[in-house]
């Protein structure tokens, strides 16, 4: 007796766990930079947050008598992303609370991996910002005191040197400051075909067009570059807006999604009270995904011509 199954009888080598591991690897440059830049406390924050998300998922699975799902590495990605979105000097219990919230409330209660409608790390970050506003918006640490570059630009103070912003020698969350480190990770993901440019490309492009039109700075290259390098845009565009589960699955839907994020980020940053806007833009975008997918259903092969002939 041989084994039988439906076709196809061969499978590609890609697995969910491998994809998640690639994302972790891609986040390492910015994590390492963050640790060197902000010090040992940042490292502790990262380790504790990741440990919290993994452990929470394990305990949840155990209590609910489900198959232990931590082997797919998605909890590691969530924990790492959340940690990179925390201020470097935030107390360690912030990471623990955020991690538990991300896994239990945003991910597992909705059915676990693949079922959450919102990026768990971002959901937890927004929860933390609303609940512990002063901690989450205080970017003072041993290395830096004072405002983040975007806040400085917004209030009209002198912005930090552009080169410093691109390298990442500014205030900000643990993982968002270094544009270069983030881009290295993004290129890795693009090369491994884990992500493509459809979402991040349209996101960044539409954001740039929006600020050229509405920021009042016009085609000021310096301003545009500091808007790109500052804040969570790079981290958000390449690592969180591209989250498979919470972006549209259709190609055209991904363009629409990217464009929506760009415009929302522009609105939040320019017209909103805060200098930041990436997290909220992505979360709002996440909520629109089912609708976007509905409107961007691809035309099946050979279907278009029939319609024409019918007319």
């Amino acid at each position: 007796m041989f084994k039988v199954s439906s076709n196809p009888h061969i499978r590609s080598k890609d697995t969910t766990a491998r994809i998640m591991q690639y994302v972790v690897i891609a986040l390492l440059p910015t994590t390492v930079f963050g640790v060197f830049h902000f010090g040992l406390h940042a490292l502790l924050q990262v380790l504790i947050t990741v440990a919290t998300t993994v452990l929470t998922e394990y305990i949840y699975d155990r209590c609910m008598h489900k198959k232990i799902s931590i082997g797919d590495f998605s909890a590691v990605v969530t924990g790492l992303l959340l940690a990179l979105n925390l201020p470097p000097s935030a107390p360690l219990w912030i990471g623990v609370i955020g991690g538990v919230f991300a896994i239990i409330v945003v991910k597992m209660l909705f059915g676990g991996l693949g079922q959450n409608f919102m990026n768990p790390a971002l959901g937890a970050r927004c929860f933390l910002i609303i609940s512990f506003t002063s901690i989450m918006t205080n970017f003072d640490c041993d290395a830096y005191t004072g405002a983040t570059p975007l806040a400085a630009i917004k209030t009209g103070e002198s912005a930090p040197d552009l080169l410093d912003m691109i390298i990442g020698r500014t205030a900000g969350t643990i993982g968002e400051t270094s544009m270069i480190a983030l881009l290295i990770g993004a290129v890795f993901l693009l090369l491994m075909k884990v992500i493509d440019l459809r979402v991040p490309g349209t996101y960044i492009l539409s954001f740039v067009i929006f600020i050229i039109l509405f920021s009042g700075h016009g085609l000021d290259i310096n301003y545009i570059l500091s808007q790109l390098a500052g804040g969570g845009l790079m981290l958000g565009a390449f690592f969180m807006a591209t989250d498979y589960v919470t972006r549209p699955v259709t190609k055209n839907g991904q363009y629409v999604f990217g464009m929506f994020l760009g415009i929302m980020t522009g609105i939040f940053r320019i017209f909103g009270p805060s200098a930041e806007g990436v997290s909220y833009a992505i979360i709002l975008g996440n909520l629109l995904v089912p609708l976007i997918e509905q409107f961007t259903k691809p035309t099946a092969f050979g279907k278009k011509k029939v319609k024409k002939e019918a007319v």
Partner: protein
């Protein structure tokens, strides 16, 4: 416009090196031969012999059971042992004629014809009488395919020489060893369609075939060779038509609606045998391959032979296979037992030491979108699979579930190892079954 490729598709490990460089070997059958009466799409054939009858090789043993049907011929001489249901590759029991091979291989006399002197009707009748069906796997009676309502509107006759399924090399060997038969068969088919051009569509992983066929068709004004980009499923009918002509058809249309007729290499050679030599369809080339067999190669097989004998000819098993597939790894049928006969549509016997499917457990969909990217039918397999799982027929049809060609790309590429093709396939079967009843 010919784009020579299509959107979507995958590049699996092709495994063709196992068998591609060994010449075709003819096998002499022994013992019992089994002829299922359904080796084609359409009505089963009706036996014209009975138990105890003496038959010769090339003698008709069952006649077509309708217009969409095909007769079946004995491929050895011997005695009709019985007519009873036997297991076939799909796992179904099909009524079959069983013949005891006397080992003498006495054949009937065939009448050769000069195709140039035959009328269109005579050509079609010869093809019909010879029991030629689509030998790429579908088994659609060829004479039906070649009789569209408006033959003058056919502008392309496409020979499907893509052989995009991994491991399969039977078409490749045929093109290398008997290219003239393919070209002559194409010329016969072109006689039926006055306004048509012939295209020999070969994937560019077979440059030697492209070169040889181009050379041989140099002086044929009506036949050209198209070198297609190698990608699975390039040989799927609708994708092939698009790649060679730029015309798109959907699941409810026939190739003829786009002015095309598509036939597989072996089918066209069978047309040549039927018309020029007057020989019925009795043989086919089968690739016996996979990492579990000792000597993977192509065989010239008489239809009706048992799969056990094919494995034996290929040197037996190196190690006991975990999975045996009739056909290619992307669309073939998994067999639980080797005791089935070779039919007109059996292109390959693939023996794998490891079954990748059962080795990987499906996990939740992470919405990565790879299935959408590779789907040549441009549907959303992820969504269709969920709808199929929930049994929501209406939504399944509304989301173009019936446009799926079951090529298997979505399941192949899925990192969560979900059985997308299986869900969609069974839903399609359910819906098509209901349509038939209605």
């Amino acid at each position: 416009m010919a784009k020579l490729t299509f959107r979507g598709g995958v590049h699996p490990y092709d495994g063709k090196d196992l068998s591609k460089d060994k010449p075709i070997k003819t096998i002499v059958p022994k013992g019992e031969m089994v002829y299922p009466l359904s080796q084609h799409i359409g009505a089963p054939a009706v036996p014209v012999v009975k138990k105890g009858d003496k038959v010769l090789a090339g003698q008709k043993i069952a006649e077509a059971g309708g217009f969409v049907s095909a007769p079946i011929y004995a491929t050895v001489s011997g005695t009709v042992k019985t007519i009873e249901p036997r297991r076939v590759v799909t796992g179904d029991m099909v009524n079959s004629i069983i013949i005891d091979n006397d080992g003498l291989f006495e054949e009937v006399a065939y009448t050769a014809h000069n195709p140039e002197k035959l009328s269109k009707k005579e050509i079609l009748d010869l093809i019909k009488e010879a029991g030629v069906v689509g030998m790429g796997g579908a088994g659609f009676p060829t004479h039906v395919k070649l009789s569209p309502k408006e033959p003058d509107k056919i502008t392309y006759v496409i020979a499907n020489c893509a052989e995009c399924e991994p491991y399969l090399t039977s078409d490749y060997r045929r093109m290398l060893e008997e290219p003239q038969k393919l070209i002559d068969g194409m010329k016969i088919i072109l006689r039926l369609f006055d306004n048509a051009q012939g295209i020999l569509a070969v994937e560019d992983n077979k440059p030697d075939c492209v070169e040889r066929l181009t050379e041989l068709t140099q002086n044929e004004s009506r036949i050209m060779v198209a070198s297609l980009k190698t990608k699975y499923p390039q040989g799927a009918e609708r994708q092939l038509i698009y790649a060679t002509t730029g015309r798109e058809i959907n699941s409810s249309m026939l190739p003829a609606d786009a002015g095309c007729v598509v036939d597989n290499v072996d089918t066209i050679v069978a047309v040549y045998h039927a018309v020029a030599e007057g020989k019925p369809l009795m043989n086919r080339i089968v690739t016996v391959t996979g990492d579990a067999v000792n000597d993977p190669r192509n065989f010239y097989v008489r239809i009706g032979m048992n799969y056990h004998d094919l494995i034996e000819e290929a040197g037996g098993f190196k190690t006991e296979p975990e999975k045996v597939v009739s056909g290619g790894p992307m669309m073939g049928f998994a067999l639980f037992d080797l005791d089935v006969p070779t039919t007109k549509t059996a292109s390959a016997l693939l023996c794998l030491t490891k079954d990748e499917v059962s080795a990987m457990e499906p996990s939740p969909c992470i919405n990565c979108g790879r299935c959408v990217d590779v789907c040549p039918g441009r549907v959303v397999p992820r969504k269709l699979a969920v709808l199929a799982e929930h049994g929501d027929e209406e939504a399944f049809v509304a989301n173009d579930g019936m446009e799926c060609c079951e090529c298997g790309c979505c399941s192949f590429v899925c990192p969560a190892k979900r059985q997308l093709t299986q869900y969609i396939k069974s839903m399609r079967k359910t819906i098509l079954g209901k349509k038939k009843k209605a």
